[in-house]
Symmetry: C2
Subunit: 273 residues, 2 copies
């Protein structure tokens, strides 16, 4: 397998260039990449040191490394472009096009995403996270009043990770309710959920996969048995259908995919810092 | 304030284009943007419907909307480019440059980031999340053996949100230990932490900011008083210095900035799905 070194360089967290780089490089899955992130590269001294690292990689491998960068200061950006790497800078690539499109001059300030610049939005993410932690696993029914969303499903369908992701990334107030055996024997929605029907989203999963996940947690238990997994998923899906609750099969879905699907189907625009 | 509509369109979650778009648009903070995300645009019918929405935006506002897209299928991408929007496609912008740089042809597969494609890595993120939840707030000292990192600080310095972020995004196993009054009266590290000294990172914060944060949580309490906040932060910083524990002032830091700083200073390359 051919190899290449990849750098992510930014004057701030470098989270944006990492996300971008990992995404576009999936299109070159025939190669093997070695990644290195250099965040907070915000002074001439740090630029000099980054330059040395990039050039060192070239000397060592004989191949120019790929550099994904987002560097707002044009002098520091120029410095990195003097390197032996192939530099793809976010600002170089997007700002002129956007300037044209928007008929507006950029402000060229330090990258502000992933910071606390927008204090309200940042605060709401942390508040949403505390909310998700406090109302996790159906422990605080009275919190449902404040919830944007209540995820309902049997144990180990990804309710908690999804709630935490929705909170951390988007400031969505999400609670969850784990369906117990007792709940599943009833033909009705569990009582604490009834007043909040329109905010409920169901999660379900292939019983074979659920069996594998539960086996890792409690090997050999009734809880993890294939029979139990079949019984629970069948019952919860029947309930969702009967109660007309929108639900999602998460068998092959990551928490990002579950979150995206739920927010999109609810018609909510998400925003990030 | 001038306004513009912005679309994020992808055949998958659209998380990458959102992250990118929000980031580069911070350079146009003199304008007001209205965002709309269209994920899972992966069929001709869905492309047709997205096209209508984009053109509708143009008709309504008289200004071409900006479209950040990552669409792997070239036919669907061409369709969106027929719209009246200004289309900035990730693949168009980066793939040819990367092809040149890497001397390798792209595979043109559906965007794979933010999915479960790499099952091991996805699994480790979920495992790290469960770990963070189970060992939160110093409840399971024996978990420290498995921790990559142990965050130490007084109450409300962002330990828990940072641990959850590190787990969710990077699969880092992070625990935390809240320093109590009793711990702070001792001149030594709390006993459960002593065997793990090299994995400990301290967090501290400006006492005035801590006071504000705690006031929101328990208004008027001793816990929230400025005097108590001064006392605790002074004591914990003294301990960090005395015990030679690297620590970070998080007063103006988001959880992304805290995470980036800690991982970078520890010399760990982070990776994302």
């Amino acid at each position: 397998m051919r190899k290449a070194n990849v750098f992510f360089i930014s004057d701030h967290t470098a989270i944006t260039v990492e996300t971008l780089g990992y995404s576009v490089l999936t299109q070159f899955s025939s190669m093997e990449f070695e990644f290195r992130t250099i965040p907070f590269m915000n002074s001439p001294v740090k630029a000099e040191s980054a330059l040395e690292v990039i050039n060192g990689s070239y000397h060592k491998t004989g191949t120019p490394p790929v550099v994904f960068s987002s560097i707002t200061d044009s002098k520091l950006r120029s410095k990195i472009k003097e390197s032996s790497g192939i530099v793809l800078d976010l600002f170089d690539l997007f700002i002129p096009a956007l300037e044209n499109a928007l008929h507006e001059a950029p402000i060229r300030a330090l990258g502000k995403s992933h910071s606390m610049t927008d204090g309200d939005r940042y605060g709401s993410r942390i508040e949403a996270l505390n909310f998700a932690l406090n109302s996790d696993d159906g422990v605080n029914f009275k919190d449902y009043e404040r919830a944007d969303l209540i995820l309902v499903g049997v144990s180990r369908t990804g309710k908690t990770p999804t709630c935490l992701y929705l909170a951390l990334q988007y400031g969505v107030f999400a609670s969850n309710y784990p369906m117990t055996d007792e709940d599943l024997e009833s033909i009705e929605l569990p009582k604490p959920l009834r007043p909040h029907r329109n905010r409920i989203r169901g999660l379900t999963i292939d019983p074979n996969k659920l069996h594998l996940i539960r086996q890792e947690r409690r090997p050999g238990s009734t809880y993890a048995s294939l029979k139990q997994c079949h019984k629970e998923t069948a019952a919860v899906e029947e309930l969702f259908v009967r109660e007309n609750i929108p639900f999602l099969d998460v068998t092959n879905f990551s928490i990002e995919e579950i979150s995206t699907t739920i927010l999109y189907e609810a018609g909510w625009q998400r925003s990030r810092i």
